[in-house]
């Protein structure tokens, strides 16, 4: 596995993202990379990075389709047009919770497209490009912290009505400095994420769907 000299972030996914895209376990994706079935390499820290193109080709093969479907616009679909799948963006630097939330979404929300960013700067860039219906975000992140990100996004006309769910291991006291940004935002402790997040995400997706139905 040799790393490209100048990988483009758009063209690269993590093992967890590849697993979410392919609907496979993380370990299965790791083995696919090791077997050369996916184009990948390891960072100096030992983490695998995989070319998005090879994942999309593998996905197309698994689905028996010639190419992946391009993303459609948000809102209600025109009659006869394919409906856009709900999009969720997770911004979380812990590989463990990337894994857990990836597993949860694949198992409980198979129609959801999940993308993952590992730091605040990348996450903010992905948010603008991907326009997720729901943002799941940690508070303590490299780069931009989750509270500052939510505060910024809620102040914007384009994203202010978005659905935000904070996933954090901070307790109430530790979270107090970030309360300025979290009014009205669902907060899930990481230790309870598998038990609590599915209901909160289902509610958020239902609100998104209801807004889509109500849109002219």
């Amino acid at each position: 596995m040799k790393a490209p000299s100048h990988p483009d972030l758009d063209d690269v996914v993590t093992t967890v993202e590849a697993a979410a895209l392919l609907g496979l376990a993380v370990r299965s994706v790791q083995l696919m990379v090791d077997r050369g079935e996916l184009e990948g390499w390891k960072t100096p820290g030992g983490h695998r990075r995989i070319s998005r193109g090879s994942v999309e080709r593998a996905l197309a093969e698994r689905q028996g389709a010639p190419a992946p479907r391009p993303p459609g616009p948000p809102g209600p679909a025109a009659p006869g047009a394919p409906t856009r799948r709900p999009r969720v963006l997770l911004i979380e630097d812990s590989v463990h919770y990337q894994n857990l939330i990836g597993l949860l979404v694949r198992r409980r929300f198979p129609d959801v497209e999940l993308r993952i960013a590992s730091d605040g700067v990348t996450g903010l860039a992905m948010f603008g490009r991907y326009e997720p219906d729901v943002l799941l975000v940690d508070i303590l992140l490299p780069g931009i912290d989750g509270a500052a990100m939510i505060s910024t996004l809620r102040a914007s006309a384009q994203f202010g009505a978005g659905e935000f769910i904070v996933v954090t291991s901070l307790d109430d006291e530790q979270r107090a400095p970030f309360d300025y940004a979290l009014e009205g935002v669902a907060v899930v402790r990481k230790e309870a994420v598998a038990a609590v997040l599915p209901d909160l995400l289902a509610q958020a997706l239902e609100r998104v769907a209801a807004r889509g139905r109500a849109a002219p």
Binding site: A25, Y97, R107, S169, K190, E191
Partner: protein
């Protein structure tokens, strides 16, 4: 019976998780989700241990604080409460700048984490 205090190898931290309770309370009764998450954790833990060892070796208390903060939650999620608490102790010491104390707590916890990987 009072659990044994961890020695430098952290053997007092090896209490088995009450998996039935963990699955019921923490994973909504989804045993397959719990086991798949445990498997994924076992694949990642060696990377975490290497990162923690590197932080100790370079005297990077902030990196050790950040790592142990994350692992504290993961281990508690898996029902390894004593081990999660030891990570929390390392986190608190690192946050205070007590690198020697944090490194000692880390040494116990990382040995127990590697044994958990071997059992998984």
């Amino acid at each position: 019976m009072t659990p044994a205090a961890p020695d430098e190898t952290g053997r007092g931290l090896d209490e088995p998780a009450d998996e039935a309770t963990v699955i019921a309370r923490g994973f909504g009764g989804d045993a397959a989700l719990y086991r798949e998450f445990l498997q994924a954790c076992a694949a990642q833990f060696p990377h975490d241990v290497a990162a923690g060892d590197a932080a100790c070796a370079s005297g990077d208390a902030q990196a050790l604080c950040y790592l142990t903060h994350s692992l504290k939650s993961v281990l508690r999620s898996l029902g390894r409460t004593a081990l999660g608490d030891r990570m929390g102790a390392a986190e608190a010491l690192a946050a205070q700048g007590d690198l020697a104390g944090a490194a000692a707590a880390w040494a116990q916890a990382r040995s127990a984490v590697l044994r958990l990987v071997a059992q998984s």
